[in-house]
């Protein structure tokens, strides 16, 4: 088939339209939030003392970290799913969440006596944390990998990893409402491990499923 002939076929198919990628991403995130919320409320749910907890700095700081991660990963994964889109600024914003966590860890080490560090780091919920963040995030990750297939990422493995971070940030936001361990030492350790698992899974998914 000559290229001229191919163009005739493409032109005849011009009227067939698909939803613009930016809009589709917004819908996908909406659906992912609903899926994550359903899993969260049907399993562990929020902690019973959530109203008084909201007046404490440590509890609220968890949402600052997870929402910073979610927002920056969303901006980057959108850029990575569009060919030729500049992503440098979005990549720099990915530093926001880790920097905030590091600052919080330093502050925590300064205000908490050394004898307390170990107990705060280990906490009481680490197994629940490491199993429920992936469990809440797995549905959203599948949705985001589907979005990468709908888009056109020229670096599928990287885009898959960022989709994993986005799913991880979203899942951690819900999980943080359940968890009693509010110390930044706990968050920096166990949340990171759980989110890293989703990130690796996303990279693998990008490698295996995102072909175009």
């Amino acid at each position: 088939m000559r290229t001229e002939d191919l163009i005739k076929a493409l032109d005849a198919d011009a009227r067939n339209k698909a939803m613009p990628l930016g809009l589709a991403w917004c819908l996908a995130v909406g659906v992912a939030v609903v899926v994550a919320a359903m899993v969260f409320f049907m399993t562990i749910g929020p902690r019973p003392d959530i109203m008084p907890a909201m007046h404490t700095m440590r509890f609220m700081s968890k949402f600052v970290f997870t929402l910073a991660l979610t927002a920056s990963a969303f901006a980057l994964v959108r850029a990575l799913s569009t060919p030729g889109e500049a992503s440098r600024r979005a990549k720099l914003w990915m530093l926001a969440a880790p920097v905030l966590v590091v600052i919080a860890v330093i502050l925590e080490l300064l205000v908490v006596p050394e004898a307390e560090w170990g107990r705060r780091l280990v906490g009481s919920n680490m197994m629940i944390c490491m199993s429920f963040i992936p469990l809440i995030g797995i549905g959203p990750l599948a949705i985001f990998l589907g979005m990468l297939r709908y888009g056109a990422p020229t670096r599928p493995v990287l885009a898959g990893a960022i989709a994993g971070l986005l799913a991880g940030g979203l899942a951690a936001t819900f999980y943080a409402a359940h968890c009693f361990d509010d110390s930044p030492l706990f968050v920096a350790t166990w949340y990171t491990i759980a989110i890293t698992f989703l990130t690796a899974l996303g990279a693998l998914g990008g490698r295996l499923f995102v072909r175009w």
């Binding site: 088939m1 000559r2 290229t3 001229e4 002939d5 191919l6 163009i7 005739k8 076929a9 493409l10 032109d11 005849a12 198919d13 011009a14 009227r15 067939n16 339209k17 698909a18 939803m19 613009p20 990628l21 930016g22 589709a24 799913s81 569009t82 060919p83 030729g84 889109e85 888009g151 056109a152 020229t154 072909r211 175009w212």
Partner: protein, 178 residues
């Protein structure tokens, strides 16, 4: 390549997405010539046929045109797809190449050359279910319209459009897996 090219091509693709088929044909012809110039300069050793990469890029542009933001420049989008498909073509043949984005600024439009070699797209076309294959080749190789194809095959125009759309999507998918 100039800013005028960019503005004109963006205008054509916007019109095409809004439903103007003549603008789309014009857009695809110009893009094919630009991508051909780019790909031919990149393929210095044998093994990869430049026209295969041009066709694969055009198909990808077609099935992924919803990823273009209408307020973004169109040429970086086109060349990012062409570069991805070029690297992919080399990877499938077990080789790696580096393609610098900056070099695209020097590519010039080139016309299609007559060749007798077997195209990758023909193999992908042969792999389609018979109904899709007859519709796609009627419109492309034989140059019939949607209406003529419907009359010739004794099916509705809607059925022709559906088969064409699915056939092209399947060819685009198959390209990437070879």
């Amino acid at each position: 390549m100039t800013g005028k090219d960019e503005a004109e091509l963006s205008r054509l693709l916007r019109a095409a997405i809004a439903g103007d088929e003549r603008a789309y044909a014009d857009f695809l012809h110009r893009i094919a010539a630009l991508v051909r110039g780019f790909v031919r300069r990149k393929i210095v050793q044998g093994g990869v046929d430049p026209e295969d990469v041009v066709q694969e890029t055009l198909l990808a542009i077609h099935v992924k045109r919803h990823t273009w933001r209408e307020d973004a420049p169109v040429l970086p989008w086109v060349y990012a797809i062409a570069r991805f498909k070029l690297i992919d073509a080399f990877r499938r043949r077990g080789r790696r190449i580096e393609v610098e984005i900056d070099e695209i600024a020097e590519s010039f439009a080139e016309p299609e050359a007559e060749t007798v070699s077997e195209r990758d797209i023909n193999r992908a076309l042969d792999g389609l279910p018979p109904a899709q294959r007859s519709v796609v080749s009627s419109i492309s190789v034989d140059g019939h319209s949607i209406g003529e194809t419907a009359a010739k095959l004794g099916i509705s125009e809607t059925a022709v459009r559906v088969s064409l759309h699915r056939g092209l999507a399947a060819i685009a998918k198959r390209f990437g897996r070879q």
